[in-house]
């Protein structure tokens, strides 16, 4: 018995020693040093994206075929990770960057979402590449401004999407006594139309899980506050606790009352599908929805119609995907080759035509793009550009998560409007 307990004590001691040792192990040093910017291994390039299915995959494939033409010596390695609208990929990317095992280049939303990677010192300044590839004048200044932090540009945009678009089913609208070609000047006008659809027994406005509700919220804020007021929400010049924000949140609350009750279990394709199937009248979604309509074999304006969210005509609620050069990329030469193709007019034309978005490079040939894309290109050239909240262009991830939490709490009925407003205010000011 005595032997036994002594043995146990020894073993326990060993265990504690091990615990202490490993706890002292400490943080890994910051060894993510780059190979410098000159040349580098160009034998292959691992491209990390969440473009694994549908129109996104089609776009990536088109881009790769241009890449193979332009850089036949560099082998393309597809590092696409599927799942959760990019969240699975971002999680994996986070741990890979943390362990200094970055891919050669990765996809990131342009704007504030990049900020985390910049703060963490995980992406290189690629300003030089803009000069080298002659891209500085090819991209609109509005876009470059949103990619620039302290005078440095950290990524090369591949495509541009618009988030403030309403999609509608003309048959459902006609059944409700509405003119499918009508557009609406303000939220109030739109409410009348939504009431009509609701009375006809269909879902007036289809929406999906939290992030699509945040997408809806941002377009309502944009509609009620105007482009300048909306942009002011992110730089502090618009007061989150003001009466005009309260008014916008009231409109948002009213809009949510028109929506389907199973929204929290759905993702955006399900909500868009309700428009395609004629179960719902309207839906607010970014213009990647265009690809879903096309895939279903639908044509505008016979099968679906689209227009800017009421009150946001003349404003382009923007988000863009872009590619980076991670610090310590194993094949920096390959990454640069990839970035060159991404930025080139040929690469942008091929990629965006297939993905349904519009090219960021204004030199890209867009003559054979679809009707919707033509209107989007035109709007992007003439409209006021604002950054999207739901897609990481306006605020960093932590702020977006706090906004999403507050929104989910409000739309499930766990908080009232005043609480919601104050939670939004503290979410944004906490950033």
């Amino acid at each position: 018995m005595r032997v036994n307990s002594r043995l146990t004590a020894t073993l326990a001691g060993v265990a504690i020693l091990g615990l202490g040792l490993s706890a002292c192990g400490g943080d890994s040093d910051d060894t993510g040093s780059a190979d410098g910017s000159g040349g580098g291994d160009a034998s292959e390039v691992e491209v990390f994206t969440w473009w694994a299915a549908g129109s996104e995959k089609a776009g990536l494939d088109a881009l790769v075929s241009v890449f193979n033409e332009q850089h036949p010596d560099t082998e393309f390695v597809n590092g696409a990770v599927a799942g959760g609208a990019g969240s699975a990929a971002k999680d994996l990317l986070q741990s890979r960057l943390q362990t200094n095992d970055p891919p050669d280049t990765f996809q990131a939303h342009a704007g504030a979402e990049l900020q985390d990677y910049i703060d963490a010192g995980q992406v290189e300044d690629v300003s030089d590449l803009y000069d080298e590839f002659g891209l500085t004048d090819a991209f609109p200044q509005d876009l470059i401004d949103r990619l620039t932090v302290d005078g440095k540009i950290y990524s090369i945009p591949s495509n541009i999407h618009r988030a403030n678009v309403v999609w509608a089913n003309p048959t459902v609208l006609e059944d409700a006594g509405l003119d499918p070609a009508a557009t609406y000047d303000s939220m109030d006008d739109w409410f009348t139309a939504l009431d009509a659809v609701k009375d006809s027994g269909k879902t007036a406005l289809s929406v999906a899980t939290t992030w699509t509700q945040v997408n809806l919220l941002e377009t309502v804020l944009l509609s009620d506050l105007g482009a300048e007021g909306y942009s002011g929400l992110w730089d502090g010049s618009t007061d989150w606790t003001g009466d005009d924000v309260t008014g916008a949140l009231e409109d948002f609350e009213k809009l949510m009352s028109y929506t389907n009750t199973d929204r929290d279990g759905l993702d955006w394709p399900d909500a868009t599908q309700q428009i395609i199937d004629g179960q719902a009248g309207f839906n607010v979604m970014g213009d990647w929805a265009e690809a879903a309509f096309e895939e279903a074999g639908k044509t505008a304006p016979a099968d679906y119609v689209y227009f800017p969210v009421p009150g946001t005509d003349g404003t382009f609620d923007f988000l863009a995907d872009s590619f980076t050069l991670p610090v310590g990329a194993p094949h920096p030469g390959g990454a640069k080759a990839w970035l060159e193709t991404v930025g080139s007019p040929e690469g942008q034309a091929a990629f965006n035509k297939a993905k349904g978005s519009i090219p960021a490079n204004t030199n890209a040939d867009t003559s054979d793009f679809s009707d919707y894309q033509q209107t989007a290109i035109e709007s992007f050239g003439s409209d006021t550009i604002v950054s999207s909240l739901a897609h990481g262009a306006a605020v960093p991830v932590a702020t977006l998560n706090a906004v999403s939490d507050a929104t989910s709490k409000f739309t499930t009925g766990a908080s009232d409007l005043a609480t919601y407003q104050s939670e939004l205010a503290s979410a944004v000011s906490g950033s």
């Binding site: 020894t10 060993v14 615990l19 490993s22 991830v397 932590a398 939490d405 499930t412 766990a414």
Partner: protein, 299 residues
């Protein structure tokens, strides 16, 4: 000295690999996790060591426990665990009790009841998300549609989309999956009670109820306790089922494990670690007394 080594050496050498692995990968990582949780490591810059990290001791814990949304997660966890535990124990016990009687096709029923356990939570979650669709009346589907078809319209409800009790709807698939396992545990317990004990009771004039009350239940107590601990710690750590039915951002189904995931993915490593430690402590509160008790019994 040599003599002592002969006595202690071999067992220590044999145990060493697993001890070292445990020390590093379990206790070492718990220690590292705890250390992160007492820092202000809330941003991406700090996570990679580009910005200074300072120790704030228990500030993160205090802030978390004070925050309304984390309290909501804890309440959800308690509700979920209570329903999950009661559901599996009651159903598992009743099934075991029924199968303990000599029934035809016992093996068949046993397999049927046990089978859901073979399905992964993620896979069954996808199906249950559809079954637990919250649409009602015309647009209803899943269970709500079934209620309509059998004329039980009043039973329709919005399942996991209820703000207060939504989380208990997610306990339904969990109960469905693990009741069979609890049944297997209880069945083994029933079979372990020698027939002589029951007969002795009956000889002494005990009624059937009294046989259960004074003979069978006391024999089953250790089994019930094991089931309680196993299901309880599974429930406290529950994450995959909730994630595959609901979404991480949905307020109505938040639990600490989901909060931890959300914090981690927004580079808030300190809060993620603090939530992890809180979960560990909650599980420890459930498990440690049990371990102490079994340890004493073995002695």
């Amino acid at each position: 000295m040599k003599n002592r080594f002969r006595r202690f050496g071999p067992p220590i050498l044999l145990l060493a690999p697993s001890l070292v692995l445990m020390a590093v990968f379990v206790y070492g990582l718990i220690g590292a996790n705890f250390r992160t949780s007492i820092t202000d490591n809330h941003t991406a810059g700090q996570a990679t060591g580009r910005q200074p990290v300072s120790t704030v001791w228990f500030q993160n814990y205090v802030d978390l426990l004070k925050s309304e949304s984390f309290q909501h997660s804890l309440v959800n966890l308690v509700l979920y665990t209570a329903v999950f535990l009661v559901g599996t124990l009651v159903i598992g016990f009743v099934w075991a009790w029924l199968l303990d009687k000599p029934v035809k096709g016992e093996g068949f029923f046993r397999s049927v009841y046990l089978f859901p356990m073979a399905v992964s939570f993620v896979a069954s979650g996808v199906v249950w998300r559809w079954l637990l669709n919250s649409n009602q009346d015309e647009s209803a589907s899943g269970l709500n549609r079934l209620f309509q078809m059998v004329g039980l319209d009043f039973l329709q409800n919005n399942w996991w989309n209820n703000v207060t009790f939504g989380i208990t709807a997610i306990a339904i698939p969990a109960i469905w999956q693990l009741s069979g396992y609890v049944m297997a545990l209880f069945l083994a317990g029933f079979r372990g009670i020698p027939e002589e004990l029951r007969e002795a009771g009956r000889m002494d004039g005990a009624s059937e109820w009294k046989v259960y009350r004074y003979v069978i239940f006391p024999e089953l107590t250790p089994i019930a306790l094991s089931a309680l601990i196993i299901i309880g710690h599974m429930s406290l750590k529950s994450f995959d089922l909730i994630m595959s039915i609901s979404k991480p951002a949905n307020y109505q189904t938040k639990v600490p494990a989901v909060d931890m995931y959300v914090s981690k993915s927004s580079f808030d490593y300190a809060n993620a670690a603090a939530i992890g430690s809180i979960l560990l402590i909650i599980v420890a509160i459930a498990v440690v007394p049990y371990l102490i008790k079994t340890n004493r019994q073995e002695k």
